[in-house]
Symmetry: C2
Subunit: 316 residues, 2 copies
């Protein structure tokens, strides 16, 4: 897919992945509405396969490959949700996944990827080592590289969460996602632009990794420098493809600090009884920070994922 | 309701409460199936209003009152989920709730009950003080006492979770709930007895509060003596009405220790991304303890609630 996905591309992606991903539920809580001062509907991608929306994009990308391409497998570098998603998507279509991970990746994540039958190739924890190792793997195997977000097939896949949300809840005024590399935000922005152009698309971003905020302000990609936030899924910077879409169709990015993220996360756990990872709580944190922006405007939030390392939590 | 509820009573309860309670989703996880060695379907009453199945029984009981009775309000003694459920149910039908709570009740629970507009009457943390205070409240107000479980209206309400589960997932071989006072277990046992008598009903119970296990063994109610378990919703003993039903229709009670409960709870949080209170994880703990009993037999588990005090958990 060489061009920005069209509405038909998004719909094709949805038909393609439907048999392999969950149609996640949309949750709603009176108590959260009271706290937010408006109606908030949560599309629960934490309840998606592998616990994150990444399953949508990875599955679409793998299903777009030709049989010949599939026979050589797929490869990526990631220690996060995209790694698990690509491993699982490859398993579904019966092709081999090669995942480059830093030696420092948490064992629980390594084991999760292994459990889906992927081959893991460890590298030093630097960008250079990661890219070199990925190149080696591709040369050795001929595997197709599936980037976590700088790929229109992936972006079209991520857009399908918003398609489902719009089908289910009519007349949302504002759609929000978190933003890291920008795949979910770009996909959501496209879907809303095509189907509900009168609605706004916004994002929440950790202030400790505010490259997207700065990029939207300046109109040029500003890379993350030493990002530091509890929202470990949002450390990456935007890419050319995601920023190209975000620049056009996203009206605002709101930054929130880690304390605000933790409070929003706790509210979701406590009131909706669902496990949400810090990254997934970022948009709600933004809504709670700026109630005057949202008063009386129904909001749809895509909860990105629920992969929390529960070792962080302990019974006192 | 003077007699053990009939099938028609259960169906009437379901129609009565439907507009006021959630039809909770049924969740399923391939990874939990693998761990359990069979298919396990979870009826998620942690996603019910007030975060627990108790909403069903309390709502049915309140809706069964005459207008004259409602005008004097309802009363109960509880510091747990029944207190919140009765307060919320009373608010829905527009009658006053009076809740007797020990002075030692956690502030978060007191506040939750207050938020539903109930009047709280504190008492010393003894059974005698609780009963005396409740009697005083009833004499002062004329409120109708709604017992947390020794009440056929409440039992019929709790049975509706199993009605929904049977409608949604056909041919379950075994139904399981946790057991404390026995309202959910008795209701489930009745529903399964009437509609799927070829299936079995079992319960999980904490070994630190194993009165139901001992009662079923001996055929007579054995009270809890100094119960001690992390499953704080299961400290109470069976009552005449609940034991009468359980004795007839429950085939087995399996006891599990707190370590097993914590492991099952973590599995539910980690794999299904839902917040389950310790009591709600007890049936899964029993399945994981005795895989040979369940191999190849599809199980339906009612997850009783999700009200966990998150202050117990901390980021390291």
């Amino acid at each position: 897919m060489e061009n920005v996905p069209s509405l038909q591309d998004l719909r094709d992606a949805h038909e393609r992945i439907k048999p392999f991903v969950h149609r996640t539920p949309v949750f709603h809580s009176e108590l959260i509405d009271q706290a937010a001062g408006t109606s908030v509907f949560f599309k629960c991608e934490n309840l998606q396969k592998v616990g994150a929306f990444k399953m949508r994009g990875a599955t679409n990308a793998v299903l777009c490959l030709s049989d010949a391409q599939r026979s050589s497998g797929v490869a990526t570098h990631s220690s996060g949700n995209h790694a698990q998603a690509l491993a699982k998507a490859a398993k579904i279509v019966g092709c081999q996944a090669f995942i480059v991970m830093p030696e420092t990746a948490p064992k629980v994540k390594v084991n999760a990827v292994k459990a889906y039958g992927a081959e893991i190739i460890f590298c030093a924890p630097t960008l250079q080592a990661r890219e070199d190792t990925l190149k080696e793997v591709q040369e050795r195997t001929g595997a197709a590289f599936i980037h976590p977000f700088d790929d229109y097939r992936v972006i079209a896949g991520q857009a399908t969460a918003a398609l489902e949300l719009m089908e289910e809840i009519k007349d949302l005024d504002i759609f929000m996602t978190p933003v890291g590399g920008g795949g979910l935000l770009a996909g959501t922005a496209l879907a809303v632009h095509y189907l509900q152009p009168q609605s706004q698309v916004m994002a929440g971003e950790p202030s400790g990794a505010d490259d997207a905020y700065r990029s939207l302000q300046t109109g040029e990609i500003q890379p993350s420098v030493n990002p530091d936030t509890i929202a470990d899924g949002l450390l990456t910077s935007l890419s050319t493809k995601t920023f190209g879409i975000i620049k056009q169709y996203v009206s605002r990015i709101i930054t929130v600090d880690d304390q605000e993220i933790k409070q929003a996360m706790r509210l979701l756990w406590e009131r909706m009884k669902i496990v949400v990872e810090p990254s997934g709580a970022v948009p709600l944190a933004a809504v709670l920070q700026q109630p005057q922006l949202f008063a009386g405007k129904p909001i749809g939030i895509i909860i990105s994922g629920g992969n929390v390392d529960l070792d962080q939590f302990s019974f006192r």
